[in-house]
Symmetry: C2
Amino acid sequence: MSASKKIKSGINPEFSVKTRKVKDVSYYLNGLQNKNRFILSECITLLESTNVAKRAMAGKILDSVIYPTDKSVRIGITGSPGVGKSTFIEAFGMFLISKGHFPAILTIDPSSQTNKGSILGDKTRMQKLASHQQAFVRPTPSGNVLGGTAEYTKETIHLCEAAGFDFILVETVGVGQSESEVDNITDINILLLQPGAGDDIQGIKRGIMENADIFIINKADGRQLELAKQTKAAYNNAIQLFHHDVKSWTCPVSLVSSIENKGMDKVYEHVSSYILLLKNLNQFDKKRLLQEQKWFETQTLKSLQHIIFKNKVVANKYFSLSDKIRKSGLSSRAAIQKMEDIFISLLKNKT
Amino acid sequence: MSASKKIKSGINPEFSVKTRKVKDVSYYLNGLQNKNRFILSECITLLESTNVAKRAMAGKILDSVIYPTDKSVRIGITGSPGVGKSTFIEAFGMFLISKGHFPAILTIDPSSQTNKGSILGDKTRMQKLASHQQAFVRPTPSGNVLGGTAEYTKETIHLCEAAGFDFILVETVGVGQSESEVDNITDINILLLQPGAGDDIQGIKRGIMENADIFIINKADGRQLELAKQTKAAYNNAIQLFHHDVKSWTCPVSLVSSIENKGMDKVYEHVSSYILLLKNLNQFDKKRLLQEQKWFETQTLKSLQHIIFKNKVVANKYFSLSDKIRKSGLSSRAAIQKMEDIFISLLKNKT
């Protein structure tokens, strides 16, 4: 990649890598304060690094940044592949920019582990946003099995907020487990649907609805407009049968055309209303603190797992027992007992 | 309790406790083979005991029983308080008995930890079943926080099956986390609803629907019959919007009157159809093996947690950090780091 290309893609020349020899904490903090998207990227890379020193540096940065948390809005965006998430995010992101906001888009892509090309892929999918000075687009690797999905997403959000981004859009594919984890890091969740009544078209697992605060029927344009209206009515009815955590909130269903740039104002309005409601109910900060606490609890267990399963005896035994259950009908009880014995012997004299 | 009362409540006199001095494995196994409900209860009590020797005895029993797993049907029954779960189970259980089945009812009651009276409570709620020779009613304590909900339910099911019970009904209150765990031990899940459209009446969290395979509108009698029909139509529409794990299954919604004993045949039919479908798709045994594997994985982690949190330093640090996050805004990252340091030092020289 040539230097000119780098500048074109939005790096402030004054923060070019070559002008600094030592990258200390102040280098990164200055970069974040100056909304330098390249240095923000560098910080996230430190965070995701397996290198201990780099992780430690990321820790120092995170400890030093001051971010006005309640000024940001963290939005989860879920929907099946093909529903038009990228197109919607591109349109909604540009709408946010037109309102004077600074959107950051984090995509949690389960395929990014195997498909290293997805970084470029995401930037191609959201070309306008990726090249806009007021926006930041970054794919988050889904991490390894034991480390869990979206291990660093929460901290990545903090870094983005520290760099002045005030609308954080976290995109997930609505088919896996990542959604309930995303629920632990976002203030509000949008479920993107497409015109069409049945489950065959939506491919949405029933449980995904649980996390949604706003429903959007995308592709409400051209020939599909009528069908979109019917879909809207159907979801409006369905929603009445369920119980939202915030009693006074009824999930709105709205029509959107991302390619025609229609309905973005409504989405913005719904998001704003919900955030305002949370704040009025004193639940906004409270929810974030509870999320932080919950995050600590789940991540601590993951860390514990991670640390103990580094022991090869533990890991091998675990996987071979798990295999035996499925293949030879070993009882889970007997297998759990064996694992307990291993844990107890590992921790003997220590606990 | 007098001896005559004991006999009345269904204990075979030949297996009376007093005639045996030593309760060895064969005592319990014989009891199970003879469908002795009192000895089945004793086995479950061993399982739930905190006494190591008793737990070991339960282990021996579980290792020795031979149960023809694919002959039983494990049904999860969920619904908000007030929806009429006990009345339904009483009616459905008696229907099963009339069909020649042997139903066992396990209730997972979150309140049973504090309210020791719930054992009597459940038996009072389902009087006909509790006193019937062909049925077995047992509340399961929800366990402690670290040990998790329904820790022994899976093994209790195995014991019931070993004692010849072929329909295992696991009842939960559809408001907490226990439902997704129950999903890991049942073949089919029934969601019990009542007439009325809105979420205020049902109190069902949206996510609960995810686990349901059959929807039942209870109390479809008298003045509420018309409303029940409307509710049925509404759920029938809503269900079309979601995606069932078994593609060829559309969740049926049926009307039931537990007090008038109506609709039990339909429920039985729906349960049978679903089980048959699973078996035809070769998913019945496969699902159980996967559940067994999943149970091993989650319970192993719980055991690990349990063992490591017995260490007071670990436990105290954990709870104080968790508190600090919520109360003083400590970052989860910093807290996780501290817990990691503790785990690593605990396992030093061992991993």
